[in-house]
C-alpha cells in the first residue's frame, strides 16, 4: 500500500509541478511580450527625415528603397507626418525635422517653392538637406538626386513621334506648382526638337501646359476632367506625376476617350502598367525608385561621414510601353522578391 500511496503522491506532485512550470513559462513569455521592450528592436545611430506630401506609389517605392538603404547604413528613416497621419507642408516638414533634431532630410518639393529659408535654417543647425527629383534653386541643399529635364524632354519627344498623326497634334503637358519655368521651357524645346527630327512629314505639334496641381485638394482630378471633357481636348496628354496619370487614365476610361486621347503617363503604378498592358495608354515614363532612394541616402551618409558630397546624383528615366511592359513587370517582380517584396 505505501508504494501505491507514494506513486500517487509523486504523480500528483509531478502534475502540479508540470502545470506550475508550464504556467510560469507561458506567463513569462507572454508578459515579456507585453511589458518588456520589443526584443527585435534595432538601434540606429542616425535619424533621417523623408519629406514628401505626395504619397503616391512612386514615393512609397522611393521611401521603401531609401529606408532599406538607411537601415543598411545604420540610420532610421522617418516619413514626416506618416505616423501622425497629419498633412504637413514641405516647410512644416523641415521645421519638424529641425525640432526633432534629425541628422538629415530628404526632401521632395511637391507644392511649395519658397523653401530656401527653411533649408538654410536646417543647414545652419547642422541638418543637411538632399532634394529629390525637384531641386531648390539657390538653396544650401547639399545634393540633388534626380533626372535632367533634358533627358525627360527627349524621351517625351521620342514617344510623341510615335503617336503623331498627320496634321497638327495638340499636345498638352500637365504641370504642378513645383515646375519652374526654365524646366518647362527645356522640356518643350526637347519635345519640339524630337518631333522635328524624327516626326513624320506633315505632322506638327502644338504644345500647351495646364497647371493640374496647384496645391488644393483634389486639384488634379478636377483639372484633368475639365480638360478632357471640355472643348479643346488634346490629342496627346503628358502627365508629370503618378496622380495625374491615374486621374487621366480613369477619365479616359469613364468617358470613352481611350482612342481619342493618347496619354503618356508618369511612373509605373499598377494602374498605369495595367493600362499599358491593355493598350489604354501608349506609354509611361518611369524612374528607378530603388536607385533614387539609395542614392539619396548615400548622399546624406557621404556628407555626414566625410563632410563632402556630389552636388548631383543622376537617376535614369525609362519608357515603358506595350512592347516592353511584360519584361519590365518581370524585372520589377524579381527586384521585389530580392528585397522582400513587402511594403515597410
Amino acid at each position: 500500500m505505501m508504494k501505491k500511496v507514494t506513486v500517487a503522491v509523486v504523480s500528483c506532485l509531478s502534475v502540479i509541478g508540470l502545470i506550475l512550470l508550464g504556467t510560469y513559462i507561458y506567463y513569462q513569455n507572454h508578459v515579456n511580450q507585453i511589458i518588456g521592450q520589443p526584443r527585435d528592436d534595432t538601434v540606429y545611430k542616425r535619424h533621417y527625415l523623408f519629406i514628401s506630401s505626395d504619397t503616391s506609389d512612386i514615393w512609397q517605392d522611393v521611401f521603401r528603397a531609401a529606408s532599406e538603404a538607411a537601415g543598411e547604413s545604420g540610420a532610421y528613416l522617418e516619413w514626416c507626418g506618416q505616423e501622425t497621419s497629419a498633412r504637413y507642408s514641405d516647410e512644416e516638414g523641415i521645421e519638424i525635422g529641425v525640432a526633432e533634431k534629425v541628422d538629415g532630410i530628404l526632401l521632395y518639393e511637391s507644392t511649395e517653392k519658397d523653401l530656401k529659408d527653411a533649408v538654410s535654417d536646417a543647414q545652419s543647425r547642422g541638418i543637411p538637406v538632399v532634394t529629390l527629383l525637384r531641386d531648390i534653386e539657390d538653396s544650401p541643399r547639399i545634393s540633388y538626386v534626380g533626372f535632367s529635364n533634358y533627358e525627360r524632354g527627349r524621351l517625351y519627344g521620342d514617344q510623341l513621334v510615335s503617336l503623331l498623326h498627320k496634321g497638327e497634334n495638340k499636345v498638352c503637358v500637365l504641370t504642378d506648382n513645383g515646375d519652374s519655368e526654365g524646366e518647362l521651357n527645356l522640356l518643350y524645346s526637347q519635345m519640339t526638337q524630337a518631333v522635328k527630327e524624327k516626326g513624320a512629314d506633315g505632322s506638327t505639334i502644338s504644345l500647351s501646359a495646364v497647371l493640374a496641381d496647384s496645391g488644393e485638394d483634389f486639384d488634379a482630378e478636377e483639372t484633368i476632367r475639365n480638360l478632357l471633357m471640355g472643348d479643346s481636348v488634346p490629342d496627346i496628354l503628358i502627365c508629370e506625376t503618378s496622380v495625374q496619370t491615374d486621374c487621366a487614365i480613369q477619365t479616359i476610361i469613364d468617358n470613352n476617350l481611350v482612342d481619342r486621347v493618347q496619354v503618356i503617363g508618369y511612373y509605373t503604378a499598377d494602374m498605369t502598367l495595367s493600362a499599358i498592358q491593355r493598350e489604354l495608354i501608349p506609354a509611361a515614363l518611369t524612374i528607378d525608385t530603388d536607385s533614387l532612394g539609395h542614392s539619396a541616402v548615400a548622399a546624406l551618409n557621404e556628407y555626414l561621414d566625410t563632410g563632402h558630397v556630389s552636388d548631383y546624383y543622376n537617376i535614369s528615366l525609362q519608357t515603358v510601353n506595350a512592347k516592353n511592359v511584360y519584361q519590365y513587370l518581370r524585372m520589377k517582380n524579381l527586384s521585389k522578391d530580392r528585397s522582400g517584396g513587402e511594403d515597410g
Partner: protein, 520 residues
Amino acid sequence: MRKGRENRSIQSRLIMIMAGMMLLVLAVNLYVFRQTRTMVQTIDSVFVSNSTIVKLSDTLDKVGSSMYDYLSTRGSSSLEDFYRYEEDLREITTSFNDQNTSSPMLMLEKNIREMSEAYLEAAEKAIQAKRGRNVEEYRRKYADSKRLNGYIDDAVYALNSRRFAQNSRNYQMLQNTMGVLEASSMVMILTAFVMAMFLAVMLIRAIFGPLKELAGAADRVAAGDFDVDVRETGSGDEIAVVTHAFRKMLFSIREYIERQRASMEKESRMKENALAMQAHLKEAQLNFLQAQINPHFLFNSLNAGSQLAALEGADRTQDYLGRMADFFRYDVQKTGGSASLEEELELVDNYIYILNVRFSGDIHFDKILDQDIRLSDITMPSMTLQPIVENAVQHGIHDDHEHGRIWLYVEMVDGEDAPDGQPTVMVTVSDNGAGMTADQIMCLMESGRGKTDGGGVPETDGDEMASGSLAGTGKEETAGVAMGNVMARLTLYYGREGLLRVSSDGPGLGTQVTVFLPLR
C-alpha cells in the same frame, strides 16, 4: 530511520498528512495569488504609458496656457506656473525614449521628447523676449512655439493611439493569459484536492482496515476459532500496538489450550493405563481362574480319573468320567465353530448321561432319528442342541423329573414344513413339562432376536453356559442367554432368521423347540 518512520503514531501521521495537504493547497493558492497580482500589476502598467502620455499632453497645454497668460498679462503667477509646468514637462519627457530605434512608438517618443525641448526653448525665448519687451521677437517665438505645440500634439495623439491599440491588444493577451492562469490554477487545485482525498482515504483505510480485521478476528475467537491469523501492521502506531497485544493474547490462549489438552491427554492416558492395568489384572485373575477351570485341565483330569477308575475296575465310574471328559472336550473344541449333527447328538447323549448319573436316571430322554439322514454329513453350529435340551431339562421337566420326558426328533422336511420350502433337517426337542405361555415364548424369542439384532454372536459361549447350567444359576436368564445365543449363531451360520421356533400349548402342556438345519 526506517524504524522511526514505522513508529509514527496515528495522531502524528494524521497531523503530517493534513499539514502537508494544507501546505500544498496554500502553496498553490499563494502561487495563483502571486500570479494574479502580477497580472493585475502588468495590466495596470500597460495603461500607465497611456496615462503618462495624457499627463504629457495636459502639462503641455498648461505650459502653453501659462506662457500665453504671461505674454498677455505679464503676471508673475503666470511666470511661476510656466516654470513649474516647464519643469514638469521636462520631467515627463525625460522618461521618454531618446534613441533611434526601429520601433515607431519609441521613435514617436523620441520625437516628442526632442520637439518638447524645442518647444520649451521657443517658449523660453518668447518669455525672455517679453521680459525684454521685444514684441516682434516674442510674437514670432510664440508663433513658433504654437506650431511646435501643434506638431507635438499630433505626435502625442499618434503615440497615444498606437499605445492604446497596443495596450488593448496587450490587455486582450493578458485576459487570455489570465484565463490560462485560471484554468491551470483550477487544475492544480483540483489535483491537490484529489491527492488530498486519496491520501485521506488511504489513511482511513490504513487505520480502519486493521481495526476491522482485528474486530473480525475477535469475533472468530469468540466463536471458538483459535486458529485465526492476525497480521502485524508494521506501522508502529496505536493500531499496531493493539494488534500485537491481540496476537500475544491469541498465542497465550492457544498455548493454554494446548497445555490443557496435553494435561487432559496425560490424565486420560493415565486413566487408560489404570484401566488397562485393572483390565489386565482382571484378565490375569480371569486367566488365573480360567487356568484353574481350564477345560483341558478339566477333561484331562477327568480322563485321569477315568483311567484311575478303570484301574480300580470301577467301570461305571470310568464310563461316567470318560463321558464327562468327552463333554468338556467337545465344549472346548467346538466353541464358536461348526459340528456335525452326529457330534451334536453325541454331546446331547453325554449330557443326558451325566445328568442321569446326577439325578439317578430320572431324566427320560428319547431320540427318534430318520435313518435316511446321514447325520455325519449334516453340519451345523456347534453347541446348538445341548443348550436346547438343557433348557428342556432346566425349565421343562425340572420340577417333575419322574414324569417328565424329553424327546428329540430328527427328520427331513421340505415344502410347507420347511422355512423356505427347501429340503431341511428338522430337529425337534419337545418335553411334557411346564410349558410356556405365549408371553414367555415371545419374551424368549425377543431376547434371542435382540441379541441377534445387536450384531454378532452374543458373548455367552459353551463354557459359560455349561458352567452356568451345571452350577444351576437363574433359570430365565440362563434360558434367554442360551436361546438367544443359539438363535444368533444359527442366523449367523445360515445367514437367515427363523431357524428356531418355540411353541407350547400352554403352561403344563410341554414345550417344543424346533431347529431347522438347511442343507448346504
